[in-house]
């Protein structure tokens, strides 16, 4: 059945979500490839260099063969940005149904690992769909009638941690916590470095965790926060992480972090919640925009952190 003009059809949402998941599983986005190439070019340790060379080769073969880039295909999830005036056939309930269906179908067709199981019984439905799975997170954008769908297949059981600091701990506290997290998970490559580090700073505890993951997964390498103090700290954290010398897989090497992104949120005056997430070597993300007219455009940069999303005032 045709939908009225300016309404985004569910059939299209399904197709775009399907394609986004397929791309995420298989193809390292351009910004990721560039970062891996840079790491390879500057690596001075022979074993680390050999492994980084293999990572680049793997990225090529995955695309050539249409195979998932890592045998652990992670947990498929979505970030959906909705234009304020976008109209969806069947509304958000239909949207979520399409998104869930796409994960189930891609799991079968691309042969993703069925990773999602019941946490107690370990029952596996076999399609990466279940209670609260896949996650769907939303944000909104003013003066827009389009729909952005980003699929992320985040890998790594490990690599994420949270703690509450006191304001007196300052930047030292943040740096130490990052080092603690890297030391805990980077040594045997539990987090599979080189990683993109995402730091959530401030907000409430749950916000802080969420922001750290979004910072790790939804900003392209090289991107910097608009706040000059935050962006300076981003540079410092990359440098700090790389001075540890864990390197790829923790075998000892020059690049442990491809980049570091920090997202801040206003927080309780008495504390500094901080969370660290790590986007592993399986750098899996794909974004597409569906216009109100039904055109579809895939792009590299999710542009998730818009000025509106990070807004400070009331409006």
């Amino acid at each position: 059945m045709a939908v009225s003009a300016g309404v985004i059809s569910q059939e299209l949402v399904y197709r775009v979500a399907y394609e986004a998941n397929k791309r995420a599983a298989i193809a390292v986005p351009k910004d990721g490839l560039a970062a891996f190439e840079k790491a390879f070019a500057r690596e001075t340790k022979p074993l680390a260099r050999f492994v980084l060379g293999q990572v680049l080769e793997n990225a090529k073969l995955a695309v050539a063969d249409e195979r998932p880039m890592c045998g652990d295909t992670g947990l498929p999830r979505y970030y959906v940005k909705v234009g304020n005036t976008a109209r969806l056939e069947g509304g958000f309930v239909a949207l979520e149904r399409s998104l869930r269906q796409a994960v189930a179908d891609v799991t079968h067709d691309i042969q993703l690992r069925a990773n999602r199981v019941h946490p107690l019984t370990r029952r596996n439905p076999g399609n990466n769909v279940g209670v609260f799975a896949p996650n769907v997170d939303y944000s909104f954008e003013p003066d827009a009638d389009w729909l952005d769908i980003t699929a992320v297949h985040k890998g790594g059981l490990f690599g994420t941690d949270y703690r509450m600091l006191f304001p007196a701990d300052g930047v030292d506290g943040i740096k130490r916590f990052l080092l603690d997290t890297l030391a805990e998970f980077g040594r045997r490559g539990l987090s599979c470095p080189p990683v993109v580090i995402g730091v959530g700073l401030g907000g409430t505890k749950d916000q802080c965790m969420r922001l750290s993951k979004e910072a790790a997964c939804l900003r392209v390498t090289g991107d910097r926060h608009p706040d000059p103090e935050v962006r300076a700290l981003e540079d410092e954290l990359v440098e700090l992480a790389n001075r540890t010398g864990f390197g790829v897989m923790g075998v000892g090497g020059d690049t442990t972090a491809l980049d570091a992104h920090i997202e801040i949120a206003y927080t309780h005056t008495g504390g500094v919640p901080v969370a660290v997430s790590q986007f592993c070597t399986a750098y899996r993300r794909a974004t597409a925009r569906v216009s109100a007219g039904g055109e579809v455009e895939f792009r590299d940069d999710p542009v998730w952190f818009t000025p509106y999303y990070r807004r400070e005032g009331i409006g």
């Binding site: 001075t44 022979p46 074993l47 050999f50 492994v51 293999q54 990572v55 793997n58 990225a59 073969l61 995955a62 063969d65 195979r67 998932p68 880039m69 890592c70 045998g71 652990d72 295909t73 799991t107 079968h108 042969q111 993703l112 690992r113 069925a114 199981v117 370990r122 029952r123 596996n124 076999g126 509450m164 600091l165 006191f166 007196a168 701990d169 030292d172 740096k175 130490r176 916590f177 080092l179 603690d180 030391a183 805990e184 040594r187 045997r188 490559g189 539990l190 599979c192 001075r243 540890t244 010398g245 864990f246 790829v248 897989m249 923790g250 075998v251 000892g252 592993c280 070597t281 399986a282």
Partner: protein
């Protein structure tokens, strides 16, 4: 810049004692022959609950992989794997004595290898080696090396992600020798260097006002 490549071996499974004797930590191995996957579910069923394995694993090969491939049933009883990768090995340390003893395993492929203690006590005793996938996620490269899925067992009992997959592989690699048959470990050496650097990067950063339980063990120790 050092351009040295690691030493490289192309070996056939089942592995011979001679094969294992040649390998040193940091070497790279490519394996051809049969192997089977096993992880939490299969270990528990075979080694804790005492079920007989669904096929004669010991007779088949002496190489096992701690993995759950990304694969599906394409027709009833016919399976295909797209991508392959191993999971963190240290968490299965408790199962290694029984696994090596009962199934005659001589090589365990994991992600990042075994604990020092198990490598020295169990692997050395059996002349077994611990191999690690690299990357760690070279799923497409490892997936390509699968020539055939010989069988998938215990899908009903354990679910597809914990089942035993018997695979015929060709030049499965690169795999890093993480532990040799004499108990020497790659990460034990690599960590010494890293720990020195780590001590330097922590220098000058004041510890937080409020510590967390367990934090005092220090960042040099591996937390397992």
């Amino acid at each position: 810049m050092e351009t040295l490549r690691p030493r490289e071996w192309h070996l056939k499974a089942p592995l011979s004692q001679g094969d294992n004797g040649k390998l040193r930590p940091g070497d790279i191995v490519y394996l051809t022959g049969p192997t089977y996957t096993a992880r939490d579910g299969a270990y528990r069923r075979m080694l804790v609950e005492g079920h007989e394995p669904p096929v004669d694993l010991r007779g088949l090969t002496n190489v096992t992989m701690q993995s759950s491939p990304a694969g599906v049933e394409v027709a009833p009883g016919v399976y295909h794997v797209s991508s392959l990768q191993a999971t963190a090995g240290f968490r299965y340390a408790q199962y290694m004595p029984a696994l090596l003893e009962r199934f005659g395993v001589k090589a365990v492929i994991s992600k990042a290898g075994m604990t020092d203690e198990v490598r020295q006590r169990v692997f050395r005793h059996h002349g077994a080696v611990s191999l690690s996938t690299v990357g760690y996620g070279l799923g497409a490269i490892y997936g390509r090396a699968i020539e055939r899925v010989l069988g998938v067992y215990w899908v009903e009992e354990l679910g597809i992600s914990e089942a035993i997959w018997v695979l015929q592989v060709k030049e499965l690699g690169p795999l890093l020798v993480e532990g040799d048959a004499e108990g020497n470990g790659f990460f034990a050496q690599a960590n010494e260097e890293i720990n020195e650097r780590l001590a330097q990067v922590y220098q000058g950063l004041k510890p937080p006002v409020f510590r967390r339980i367990g934090e005092e063990q220090g960042p040099k120790r591996e937390p397992f």
